[in-house]
Protein backbone atom coordinates (compact mmCIF):
# COMPACT_ATOMS: atom_id res chain seq x y z
CA UNK A 1 0.00 0.00 0.00
CA UNK A 2 1.40 3.41 -0.98
CA UNK A 3 2.25 5.48 2.06
CA UNK A 4 0.16 8.62 2.48
CA UNK A 5 1.88 11.93 3.02
CA UNK A 6 -1.37 13.72 3.73
CA UNK A 7 -4.75 12.40 4.77
CA UNK A 8 -7.70 14.59 5.64
CA UNK A 9 -11.08 13.49 6.87
CA UNK A 10 -13.97 15.93 6.86
CA UNK A 11 -11.60 18.86 7.25
CA UNK A 12 -13.60 22.02 7.85
CA UNK A 13 -12.68 25.55 8.81
CA UNK A 14 -15.08 28.40 9.53
CA UNK A 15 -14.31 32.06 9.93
CA UNK A 16 -17.41 33.35 11.67
CA UNK A 17 -20.25 32.60 9.27
CA UNK A 18 -17.92 31.96 6.33
CA UNK A 19 -17.03 28.34 5.68
CA UNK A 20 -13.65 28.53 3.99
CA UNK A 21 -12.97 24.79 3.88
CA UNK A 22 -15.95 22.48 3.81
CA UNK A 23 -15.66 18.80 4.67
CA UNK A 24 -12.53 18.11 2.60
CA UNK A 25 -11.40 14.49 2.58
CA UNK A 26 -8.42 13.54 0.47
CA UNK A 27 -5.23 11.49 0.41
CA UNK A 28 -1.91 12.54 -1.06
CA UNK A 29 0.48 9.67 -1.79
CA UNK A 30 4.07 10.06 -0.64
CA UNK A 31 6.42 11.13 -3.40
CA UNK A 32 3.68 12.56 -5.62
CA UNK A 33 3.30 16.02 -7.05
CA UNK A 34 -0.26 16.82 -6.02
CA UNK A 35 -2.11 19.75 -7.52
CA UNK A 36 -4.85 21.57 -5.67
CA UNK A 37 -6.87 23.52 -8.21
CA UNK A 38 -9.47 26.13 -7.58
CA UNK A 39 -10.50 29.67 -8.39
CA UNK A 40 -9.56 32.60 -6.18
CA UNK A 41 -11.14 32.39 -2.76
CA UNK A 42 -11.90 28.68 -3.01
CA UNK A 43 -10.03 27.70 0.16
CA UNK A 44 -6.64 26.60 -1.21
CA UNK A 45 -4.51 28.78 1.05
CA UNK A 46 -6.65 28.02 4.09
CA UNK A 47 -6.21 24.30 3.40
CA UNK A 48 -2.43 24.69 3.35
CA UNK A 49 -2.54 26.61 6.61
CA UNK A 50 -4.62 23.85 8.19
CA UNK A 51 -2.22 21.18 6.97
CA UNK A 52 0.76 23.10 8.36
CA UNK A 53 -0.99 23.49 11.69
CA UNK A 54 -1.03 27.28 11.40
CA UNK A 55 -4.79 27.21 11.90
CA UNK A 56 -6.93 24.78 13.82
CA UNK A 57 -9.79 23.07 12.03
CA UNK A 58 -13.33 23.75 13.13
CA UNK A 59 -14.12 20.08 12.46
CA UNK A 60 -12.43 17.07 10.98
CA UNK A 61 -8.86 15.87 11.05
CA UNK A 62 -5.71 16.16 9.03
CA UNK A 63 -2.75 13.83 9.27
CA UNK A 64 0.44 15.03 7.66
CA UNK A 65 3.47 12.72 7.50
CA UNK A 66 1.86 10.63 10.19
CA UNK A 67 1.31 13.55 12.57
CA UNK A 68 -1.99 15.07 13.59
CA UNK A 69 -2.14 18.67 12.37
CA UNK A 70 -4.09 19.76 15.43
CA UNK A 71 -1.86 18.40 18.18
CA UNK A 72 1.48 17.73 16.50
CA UNK A 73 1.88 20.80 14.31
CA UNK A 74 5.45 21.38 15.49
CA UNK A 75 6.44 17.91 14.30
CA UNK A 76 4.81 18.58 10.91
CA UNK A 77 6.59 21.88 10.41
CA UNK A 78 9.87 20.24 11.39
CA UNK A 79 9.62 18.06 8.27
CA UNK A 80 7.96 20.41 5.82
CA UNK A 81 9.02 23.25 3.58
CA UNK A 82 6.72 26.00 2.38
CA UNK A 83 6.41 28.66 -0.26
CA UNK A 84 3.24 30.42 0.79
CA UNK A 85 1.15 33.20 -0.67
CA UNK A 86 4.08 35.62 -0.45
CA UNK A 87 7.66 34.60 -1.13
CA UNK A 88 8.71 35.37 2.45
CA UNK A 89 12.12 36.58 1.32
CA UNK A 90 13.96 39.29 3.23
CA UNK A 91 14.41 41.83 0.50
CA UNK A 92 16.98 43.90 2.36
CA UNK A 93 19.28 40.88 2.56
CA UNK A 94 21.26 39.09 -0.10
CA UNK A 95 20.21 35.79 -1.62
CA UNK A 96 22.93 33.99 0.27
CA UNK A 97 21.92 35.63 3.55
CA UNK A 98 18.32 34.59 3.03
CA UNK A 99 19.28 30.96 2.58
CA UNK A 100 21.91 31.17 5.30
CA UNK A 101 19.27 32.38 7.76
CA UNK A 102 16.86 29.58 6.99
CA UNK A 103 19.69 27.06 7.02
CA UNK A 104 20.36 28.15 10.60
CA UNK A 105 16.64 27.91 11.38
CA UNK A 106 16.71 24.29 10.21
CA UNK A 107 19.89 23.59 12.21
CA UNK A 108 22.07 22.71 9.28
CA UNK A 109 25.72 22.50 10.27
CA UNK A 110 28.08 25.14 8.80
CA UNK A 111 29.47 22.64 6.30
CA UNK A 112 25.99 21.48 5.32
CA UNK A 113 24.85 25.10 4.99
CA UNK A 114 27.67 26.00 2.64
CA UNK A 115 27.20 22.89 0.52
CA UNK A 116 23.43 23.02 0.35
CA UNK A 117 23.24 26.75 -0.40
CA UNK A 118 25.76 26.34 -3.20
CA UNK A 119 24.00 23.27 -4.57
CA UNK A 120 20.59 24.93 -4.72
CA UNK A 121 21.73 28.31 -6.00
CA UNK A 122 23.92 26.68 -8.65
CA UNK A 123 21.11 24.36 -9.68
CA UNK A 124 18.83 27.34 -10.20
CA UNK A 125 21.43 29.47 -11.95
CA UNK A 126 21.59 31.98 -9.11
CA UNK A 127 25.03 31.26 -7.67
CA UNK A 128 26.77 34.19 -9.40
CA UNK A 129 24.16 36.57 -8.01
CA UNK A 130 24.19 35.31 -4.45
CA UNK A 131 25.61 38.57 -3.05
CA UNK A 132 22.92 40.74 -4.61
CA UNK A 133 20.16 42.28 -2.51
CA UNK A 134 17.02 40.29 -3.25
CA UNK A 135 14.83 43.39 -3.41
CA UNK A 136 16.41 44.29 -6.75
CA UNK A 137 15.56 40.96 -8.36
CA UNK A 138 12.77 40.14 -10.76
CA UNK A 139 9.74 38.22 -9.52
CA UNK A 140 10.84 35.08 -11.32
CA UNK A 141 14.23 35.08 -9.62
CA UNK A 142 12.65 35.70 -6.24
CA UNK A 143 10.29 32.77 -6.73
CA UNK A 144 13.24 30.53 -7.64
CA UNK A 145 15.03 31.59 -4.49
CA UNK A 146 11.88 30.99 -2.45
CA UNK A 147 11.62 27.47 -3.90
CA UNK A 148 15.26 26.91 -2.97
CA UNK A 149 14.49 28.08 0.55
CA UNK A 150 11.55 25.70 0.80
CA UNK A 151 13.76 22.75 -0.20
CA UNK A 152 16.83 23.82 1.76
CA UNK A 153 16.54 21.34 4.59
CA UNK A 154 15.49 18.40 2.38
CA UNK A 155 11.92 18.27 3.69
CA UNK A 156 9.73 15.21 3.22
CA UNK A 157 6.86 17.42 2.06
CA UNK A 158 6.79 20.87 0.53
CA UNK A 159 3.79 23.17 0.17
CA UNK A 160 3.82 25.56 -2.77
CA UNK A 161 1.05 28.13 -2.92
CA UNK A 162 0.76 29.28 -6.55
CA UNK A 163 4.49 29.26 -7.21
CA UNK A 164 4.22 30.60 -10.77
CA UNK A 165 1.60 33.28 -10.08
CA UNK A 166 2.53 36.59 -11.62
CA UNK A 167 5.36 35.17 -13.70
CA UNK A 168 5.63 35.64 -17.44
CA UNK A 169 5.28 32.40 -19.47
CA UNK A 170 9.02 31.96 -19.96
CA UNK A 171 9.79 32.39 -16.27
CA UNK A 172 6.87 30.13 -15.35
CA UNK A 173 8.10 27.34 -17.61
CA UNK A 174 11.65 27.71 -16.29
CA UNK A 175 10.46 27.56 -12.69
CA UNK A 176 8.24 24.60 -13.41
CA UNK A 177 11.14 22.71 -14.99
CA UNK A 178 13.40 23.53 -12.05
CA UNK A 179 10.70 22.47 -9.64
CA UNK A 180 10.06 19.17 -11.37
CA UNK A 181 13.76 18.41 -11.50
CA UNK A 182 14.32 19.31 -7.88
CA UNK A 183 11.27 17.41 -6.65
CA UNK A 184 12.21 14.25 -8.55
CA UNK A 185 15.87 14.44 -7.46
CA UNK A 186 15.00 15.12 -3.83
CA UNK A 187 12.17 12.58 -3.76
CA UNK A 188 9.96 15.05 -1.97
CA UNK A 189 6.16 15.09 -1.93
CA UNK A 190 4.84 18.33 -3.38
CA UNK A 191 1.46 19.83 -2.51
CA UNK A 192 0.94 22.60 -4.99
CA UNK A 193 -1.94 25.01 -5.41
CA UNK A 194 -2.54 26.72 -8.68
CA UNK A 195 -5.19 28.04 -10.98
CA UNK A 196 -2.92 27.52 -13.96
CA UNK A 197 -4.50 24.37 -15.36
CA UNK A 198 -1.95 23.82 -18.07
CA UNK A 199 0.72 23.83 -15.39
CA UNK A 200 -1.21 21.36 -13.26
CA UNK A 201 -1.66 19.07 -16.20
CA UNK A 202 2.05 19.04 -17.02
CA UNK A 203 3.36 18.94 -13.49
CA UNK A 204 1.00 16.93 -11.32
CA UNK A 205 0.57 13.24 -10.79
CA UNK A 206 -2.78 13.85 -9.13
CA UNK A 207 -5.06 16.83 -8.86
CA UNK A 208 -7.97 17.86 -6.72
CA UNK A 209 -10.49 20.52 -7.66
CA UNK A 210 -11.95 22.75 -4.96
CA UNK A 211 -14.57 25.46 -5.15
CA UNK A 212 -16.06 27.54 -2.31
CA UNK A 213 -14.27 25.26 0.13
CA UNK A 214 -15.74 22.02 -1.19
CA UNK A 215 -13.82 19.28 -2.93
CA UNK A 216 -15.37 18.58 -6.32
CA UNK A 217 -13.09 15.89 -7.71
CA UNK A 218 -9.80 14.10 -7.08
CA UNK A 219 -7.82 12.00 -9.53
CA UNK A 220 -5.13 11.88 -12.16
CA UNK A 221 -5.34 14.61 -14.79
CA UNK A 222 -6.37 12.07 -17.46
CA UNK A 223 -9.10 10.74 -15.18
CA UNK A 224 -10.50 14.20 -14.66
CA UNK A 225 -10.34 14.91 -18.38
CA UNK A 226 -12.28 11.70 -18.98
CA UNK A 227 -15.00 12.85 -16.62
CA UNK A 228 -15.64 15.89 -18.77
CA UNK A 229 -16.63 13.41 -21.48
CA UNK A 230 -16.30 15.90 -24.26
CA UNK A 231 -14.53 15.05 -27.46
CA UNK A 232 -13.41 18.08 -29.31
CA UNK A 233 -12.56 19.08 -32.85
CA UNK A 234 -10.67 22.22 -33.78
CA UNK A 235 -10.69 23.56 -37.34
CA UNK A 236 -8.60 26.37 -38.79
CA UNK A 237 -8.97 27.71 -42.27
CA UNK A 238 -10.31 30.49 -44.50
CA UNK A 239 -13.99 31.23 -44.73
CA UNK A 240 -14.90 30.38 -41.15
CA UNK A 241 -17.54 32.76 -39.90
CA UNK A 242 -20.50 32.99 -37.53
CA UNK A 243 -22.88 31.56 -40.17
CA UNK A 244 -20.80 28.41 -40.54
CA UNK A 245 -20.46 28.05 -36.76
CA UNK A 246 -24.23 28.40 -36.30
CA UNK A 247 -24.84 25.81 -39.03
CA UNK A 248 -22.46 23.31 -37.43
CA UNK A 249 -24.09 23.83 -34.03
CA UNK A 250 -27.37 22.45 -35.44
CA UNK A 251 -25.71 19.15 -36.46
CA UNK A 252 -26.65 16.14 -34.26
CA UNK A 253 -23.01 15.25 -33.67
CA UNK A 254 -22.20 18.72 -32.33
CA UNK A 255 -22.94 19.77 -28.78
CA UNK A 256 -21.60 23.30 -29.20
CA UNK A 257 -19.65 25.38 -31.69
CA UNK A 258 -17.43 28.31 -30.84
CA UNK A 259 -15.57 30.57 -33.26
CA UNK A 260 -12.64 32.50 -31.80
CA UNK A 261 -9.61 34.02 -33.51
CA UNK A 262 -10.30 32.18 -36.80
CA UNK A 263 -10.42 28.85 -34.99
CA UNK A 264 -13.64 26.88 -34.85
CA UNK A 265 -13.93 24.63 -31.81
CA UNK A 266 -16.64 21.98 -31.87
CA UNK A 267 -17.57 19.97 -28.81
CA UNK A 268 -18.86 16.65 -30.01
CA UNK A 269 -21.36 14.23 -28.62
CA UNK A 270 -20.11 10.76 -27.85
CA UNK A 271 -19.74 8.23 -30.61
CA UNK A 272 -20.04 10.55 -33.62
CA UNK A 273 -17.71 10.62 -36.57
CA UNK A 274 -15.99 13.84 -37.54
CA UNK A 275 -15.60 13.17 -41.29
CA UNK A 276 -19.13 14.33 -42.23
CA UNK A 277 -18.51 17.59 -40.37
CA UNK A 278 -15.37 18.27 -42.37
CA UNK A 279 -17.28 17.51 -45.57
CA UNK A 280 -19.99 19.96 -44.50
CA UNK A 281 -17.43 22.68 -43.92
CA UNK A 282 -15.97 22.17 -47.40
CA UNK A 283 -19.46 22.28 -48.99
CA UNK A 284 -20.05 25.61 -47.22
CA UNK A 285 -16.98 27.04 -48.90
CA UNK A 286 -14.49 26.78 -46.04
CA UNK A 287 -10.90 26.24 -47.17
CA UNK A 288 -9.80 23.92 -44.35
CA UNK A 289 -6.15 24.26 -43.33
CA UNK A 290 -6.03 22.00 -40.26
CA UNK A 291 -8.32 19.70 -38.33
CA UNK A 292 -7.38 18.55 -34.83
CA UNK A 293 -9.39 16.14 -32.76
CA UNK A 294 -8.82 15.37 -29.09
CA UNK A 295 -10.36 14.79 -25.72
CA UNK A 296 -11.16 17.53 -23.28
CA UNK A 297 -8.17 19.19 -21.68
CA UNK A 298 -7.91 19.82 -17.97
CA UNK A 299 -9.20 23.34 -18.39
CA UNK A 300 -12.44 22.05 -19.87
CA UNK A 301 -12.68 19.39 -17.20
CA UNK A 302 -12.15 22.04 -14.56
CA UNK A 303 -14.72 24.38 -16.09
CA UNK A 304 -17.17 21.49 -16.33
CA UNK A 305 -16.67 20.61 -12.67
CA UNK A 306 -16.77 24.17 -11.42
CA UNK A 307 -19.59 25.16 -13.72
CA UNK A 308 -21.73 22.19 -12.67
CA UNK A 309 -21.20 23.17 -9.08
CA UNK A 310 -22.36 26.75 -9.61
Amino acid sequence: MTECAIRTDGLTRDFGTLRAVDNVSLEVPAGAIFGFLGPNGSGKTTTIRLLLGLLEPTRGTATVLGHDAGSEADAIRERCGALLEHSGLYERMTAQDNLEFYARVWHLSPAERRGRVRELLSGLGLWDRRHEIVGAWSRGMKQKLAVARALLHRPDLVFLDEPTAGLDPIAAVALRDDLTGLARREGVTVFLTTHNLSEAEKLCDQVAVIRTGRLLAVGRPDELRGRARRDRMEVTGRGLDARVAALLATEPAVESAELRDDRLTLRLRDGHDTAPLVALLVREGVAVDEVRKGGADLEEAFMALVGNDA
Partner: protein, 245 residues
Amino acid sequence: MIGDILTIAWKDLREVLLQSGTLRRSLRGLLFSFLIFGVFLPLQIGPDLVRQPAAILPFAWVPLLLASGMVADGIAGERERHTLETLLASRLSDRSILLGKVVAAIAYGWGFMLVSAAVGLVTVNVVNAGHGLLMYEPGALAVLGVFGLLGAGLVACGGALVALRAPTVRQAAQNMNLAIFAVVLIPILGLQVLPVDVRRQVFTTLSGLDWLTIGVGAAAILAAADLLLLAATMARFQRARLILD
Protein backbone atom coordinates in the same frame (compact mmCIF):
# COMPACT_ATOMS: atom_id res chain seq x y z
CA MET B 1 15.87 27.29 21.97
CA ILE B 2 18.76 29.62 22.73
CA GLY B 3 20.20 28.85 19.32
CA ASP B 4 16.88 29.70 17.69
CA ILE B 5 16.64 32.97 19.63
CA LEU B 6 20.13 33.94 18.54
CA THR B 7 19.33 33.01 14.92
CA ILE B 8 16.35 35.37 14.90
CA ALA B 9 18.36 38.08 16.66
CA TRP B 10 21.18 37.70 14.11
CA LYS B 11 18.72 38.07 11.25
CA ASP B 12 16.98 41.12 12.71
CA LEU B 13 20.29 42.84 13.45
CA ARG B 14 21.52 42.07 9.95
CA GLU B 15 18.32 43.50 8.49
CA VAL B 16 18.59 46.72 10.45
CA LEU B 17 22.20 47.11 9.41
CA LEU B 18 21.17 46.71 5.77
CA GLN B 19 18.02 48.84 5.91
CA SER B 20 19.71 51.72 4.11
CA GLY B 21 20.36 49.48 1.14
CA THR B 22 23.97 48.50 1.63
CA LEU B 23 26.09 47.72 4.64
CA ARG B 24 28.33 50.66 3.82
CA ARG B 25 25.43 53.10 3.79
CA SER B 26 24.04 51.73 7.04
CA LEU B 27 27.42 51.91 8.77
CA ARG B 28 27.71 55.50 7.61
CA GLY B 29 24.40 56.25 9.33
CA LEU B 30 25.57 54.52 12.49
CA LEU B 31 28.83 56.43 12.37
CA PHE B 32 26.88 59.68 12.23
CA SER B 33 24.92 58.63 15.33
CA PHE B 34 28.16 57.73 17.12
CA LEU B 35 29.50 61.16 16.25
CA ILE B 36 26.49 62.77 17.93
CA PHE B 37 26.47 60.65 21.09
CA GLY B 38 30.15 59.79 21.29
CA VAL B 39 31.81 62.99 20.15
CA PHE B 40 29.50 66.02 19.96
CA LEU B 41 27.66 65.51 23.27
CA PRO B 42 30.81 64.67 25.27
CA LEU B 43 32.50 67.74 23.76
CA GLN B 44 29.60 69.85 25.02
CA ILE B 45 29.65 68.29 28.50
CA GLY B 46 33.44 68.19 28.81
CA PRO B 47 35.32 66.51 31.71
CA ASP B 48 32.13 66.66 33.80
CA LEU B 49 31.03 63.66 31.77
CA VAL B 50 33.26 61.51 33.97
CA ARG B 51 33.48 63.71 37.05
CA GLN B 52 29.71 64.18 37.54
CA PRO B 53 27.91 60.79 37.73
CA ALA B 54 24.61 62.34 36.63
CA ALA B 55 26.17 63.69 33.43
CA ILE B 56 26.36 60.18 32.00
CA LEU B 57 22.57 59.72 32.25
CA PRO B 58 21.70 61.11 28.79
CA PHE B 59 23.30 57.98 27.35
CA ALA B 60 20.54 55.94 29.04
CA TRP B 61 18.02 57.37 26.55
CA VAL B 62 19.84 55.85 23.60
CA PRO B 63 18.58 52.28 24.13
CA LEU B 64 15.01 53.53 24.51
CA LEU B 65 15.06 55.30 21.17
CA LEU B 66 16.82 52.57 19.22
CA ALA B 67 15.06 49.59 20.77
CA SER B 68 11.59 51.00 20.07
CA GLY B 69 12.34 51.54 16.39
CA MET B 70 13.91 48.16 15.98
CA VAL B 71 11.16 46.15 17.64
CA ALA B 72 8.52 48.04 15.62
CA ASP B 73 10.35 47.08 12.45
CA GLY B 74 10.97 43.55 13.66
CA ILE B 75 7.32 42.75 14.32
CA ALA B 76 5.01 45.15 12.48
CA GLY B 77 7.56 45.39 9.70
CA GLU B 78 7.86 41.63 9.30
CA ARG B 79 4.09 41.46 8.94
CA GLU B 80 3.98 44.43 6.56
CA ARG B 81 6.70 42.91 4.36
CA HIS B 82 4.87 39.55 4.28
CA THR B 83 7.72 37.54 5.76
CA LEU B 84 6.06 36.66 9.05
CA GLU B 85 3.89 33.82 7.79
CA THR B 86 6.84 32.00 6.23
CA LEU B 87 8.69 32.35 9.53
CA LEU B 88 5.69 30.97 11.41
CA ALA B 89 5.51 28.05 8.96
CA SER B 90 9.03 27.01 9.96
CA ARG B 91 10.09 24.83 12.89
CA LEU B 92 10.69 27.84 15.14
CA SER B 93 8.49 28.14 18.21
CA ASP B 94 6.44 31.28 18.87
CA ARG B 95 8.52 31.93 21.94
CA SER B 96 11.88 31.75 20.20
CA ILE B 97 10.73 34.09 17.40
CA LEU B 98 9.46 36.68 19.86
CA LEU B 99 12.42 36.44 22.24
CA GLY B 100 14.82 36.66 19.32
CA LYS B 101 13.28 39.95 18.27
CA VAL B 102 13.29 41.32 21.81
CA VAL B 103 16.92 40.28 22.30
CA ALA B 104 17.89 41.93 19.00
CA ALA B 105 16.23 45.20 19.99
CA ILE B 106 17.86 45.20 23.43
CA ALA B 107 21.27 44.25 22.02
CA TYR B 108 21.04 47.00 19.40
CA GLY B 109 20.03 49.75 21.82
CA TRP B 110 22.17 48.70 24.75
CA GLY B 111 25.17 47.89 22.57
CA PHE B 112 24.94 51.28 20.90
CA MET B 113 24.77 52.96 24.31
CA LEU B 114 27.86 51.16 25.59
CA VAL B 115 29.85 51.92 22.45
CA SER B 116 28.75 55.58 22.57
CA ALA B 117 29.80 55.82 26.22
CA ALA B 118 33.17 54.31 25.36
CA VAL B 119 33.66 56.67 22.41
CA GLY B 120 32.60 59.55 24.66
CA LEU B 121 35.27 58.57 27.19
CA VAL B 122 37.89 58.53 24.45
CA THR B 123 36.71 61.94 23.22
CA VAL B 124 36.94 63.49 26.68
CA ASN B 125 40.42 62.03 27.20
CA VAL B 126 41.65 63.23 23.81
CA VAL B 127 40.36 66.75 24.44
CA ASN B 128 41.77 66.80 27.97
CA ALA B 129 45.10 65.11 27.20
CA GLY B 130 47.82 65.90 29.67
CA HIS B 131 45.47 65.95 32.66
CA GLY B 132 45.76 62.24 33.41
CA LEU B 133 43.49 59.41 32.39
CA LEU B 134 39.82 60.20 32.97
CA MET B 135 37.52 57.28 33.77
CA TYR B 136 33.86 56.94 34.62
CA GLU B 137 32.92 56.37 38.23
CA PRO B 138 32.37 52.61 38.54
CA GLY B 139 29.07 53.20 40.29
CA ALA B 140 27.83 55.57 37.59
CA LEU B 141 28.88 53.10 34.91
CA ALA B 142 27.08 50.28 36.69
CA VAL B 143 23.92 52.40 37.00
CA LEU B 144 24.12 53.29 33.32
CA GLY B 145 24.63 49.66 32.36
CA VAL B 146 21.81 48.31 34.52
CA PHE B 147 19.26 51.01 33.79
CA GLY B 148 20.17 51.11 30.14
CA LEU B 149 19.57 47.36 29.93
CA LEU B 150 16.33 47.43 31.89
CA GLY B 151 15.12 50.48 29.98
CA ALA B 152 15.88 48.77 26.68
CA GLY B 153 14.03 45.70 27.95
CA LEU B 154 11.01 47.78 28.92
CA VAL B 155 10.85 49.45 25.53
CA ALA B 156 11.52 46.22 23.63
CA CYS B 157 8.85 44.22 25.47
CA GLY B 158 6.33 47.06 25.51
CA GLY B 159 7.17 47.90 21.93
CA ALA B 160 6.56 44.31 20.86
CA LEU B 161 3.10 44.40 22.45
CA VAL B 162 2.33 47.69 20.71
CA ALA B 163 3.70 46.46 17.38
CA LEU B 164 1.51 43.34 17.50
CA ARG B 165 -1.54 45.58 17.47
CA ALA B 166 -0.29 48.01 14.84
CA PRO B 167 -1.00 47.42 11.15
CA THR B 168 2.17 49.14 9.94
CA VAL B 169 5.66 50.00 11.14
CA ARG B 170 4.84 53.68 11.09
CA GLN B 171 1.77 53.19 13.26
CA ALA B 172 3.75 50.99 15.65
CA ALA B 173 6.51 53.59 15.94
CA GLN B 174 3.97 56.38 16.53
CA ASN B 175 2.14 54.39 19.19
CA MET B 176 5.42 53.52 20.84
CA ASN B 177 6.52 57.14 20.96
CA LEU B 178 3.22 58.04 22.57
CA ALA B 179 3.68 55.27 25.12
CA ILE B 180 7.22 56.41 25.99
CA PHE B 181 5.98 59.96 26.28
CA ALA B 182 3.20 58.82 28.62
CA VAL B 183 5.59 56.76 30.76
CA VAL B 184 7.82 59.81 31.24
CA LEU B 185 5.02 62.34 31.64
CA ILE B 186 2.61 60.44 33.90
CA PRO B 187 4.89 60.33 36.97
CA ILE B 188 5.62 64.04 36.62
CA LEU B 189 1.95 64.93 36.18
CA GLY B 190 1.03 62.46 38.87
CA LEU B 191 3.23 64.25 41.34
CA GLN B 192 1.64 67.55 40.37
CA VAL B 193 -1.90 66.38 41.04
CA LEU B 194 -1.06 64.83 44.40
CA PRO B 195 -2.14 66.89 47.43
CA VAL B 196 0.69 69.12 48.67
CA ASP B 197 1.17 67.28 51.95
CA VAL B 198 1.30 63.88 50.20
CA ARG B 199 3.81 65.24 47.72
CA ARG B 200 5.90 66.61 50.57
CA GLN B 201 5.75 63.20 52.29
CA VAL B 202 6.95 61.45 49.12
CA PHE B 203 9.91 63.81 48.72
CA THR B 204 10.79 63.53 52.43
CA THR B 205 10.75 59.73 52.22
CA LEU B 206 12.86 59.70 49.06
CA SER B 207 15.43 62.15 50.37
CA GLY B 208 15.80 60.04 53.50
CA LEU B 209 16.84 57.06 51.42
CA ASP B 210 20.38 56.52 50.20
CA TRP B 211 21.05 56.38 46.47
CA LEU B 212 21.70 52.66 46.55
CA THR B 213 18.27 51.96 48.01
CA ILE B 214 16.58 54.23 45.46
CA GLY B 215 18.57 52.66 42.66
CA VAL B 216 17.82 49.10 43.71
CA GLY B 217 14.16 49.97 44.18
CA ALA B 218 13.91 51.62 40.79
CA ALA B 219 15.73 48.71 39.14
CA ALA B 220 13.38 46.23 40.83
CA ILE B 221 10.34 48.16 39.59
CA LEU B 222 11.76 48.31 36.06
CA ALA B 223 12.65 44.62 36.09
CA ALA B 224 9.15 43.71 37.28
CA ALA B 225 7.62 45.88 34.58
CA ASP B 226 9.87 44.22 31.97
CA LEU B 227 8.76 40.75 33.05
CA LEU B 228 5.09 41.69 33.12
CA LEU B 229 5.25 43.20 29.66
CA LEU B 230 7.16 40.19 28.35
CA ALA B 231 4.55 37.81 29.76
CA ALA B 232 1.74 39.86 28.19
CA THR B 233 3.52 39.92 24.85
CA MET B 234 4.18 36.19 24.90
CA ALA B 235 0.51 35.55 25.60
CA ARG B 236 -0.41 37.69 22.58
CA PHE B 237 2.25 36.27 20.22
CA GLN B 238 0.39 33.12 19.22
CA ARG B 239 0.84 31.64 15.77
CA ALA B 240 -2.83 31.10 14.94
CA ARG B 241 -3.72 34.60 16.08
CA LEU B 242 -0.91 36.14 14.06
CA ILE B 243 -2.04 34.26 10.95
CA LEU B 244 -5.59 35.53 11.41
CA ASP B 245 -4.30 39.07 11.96
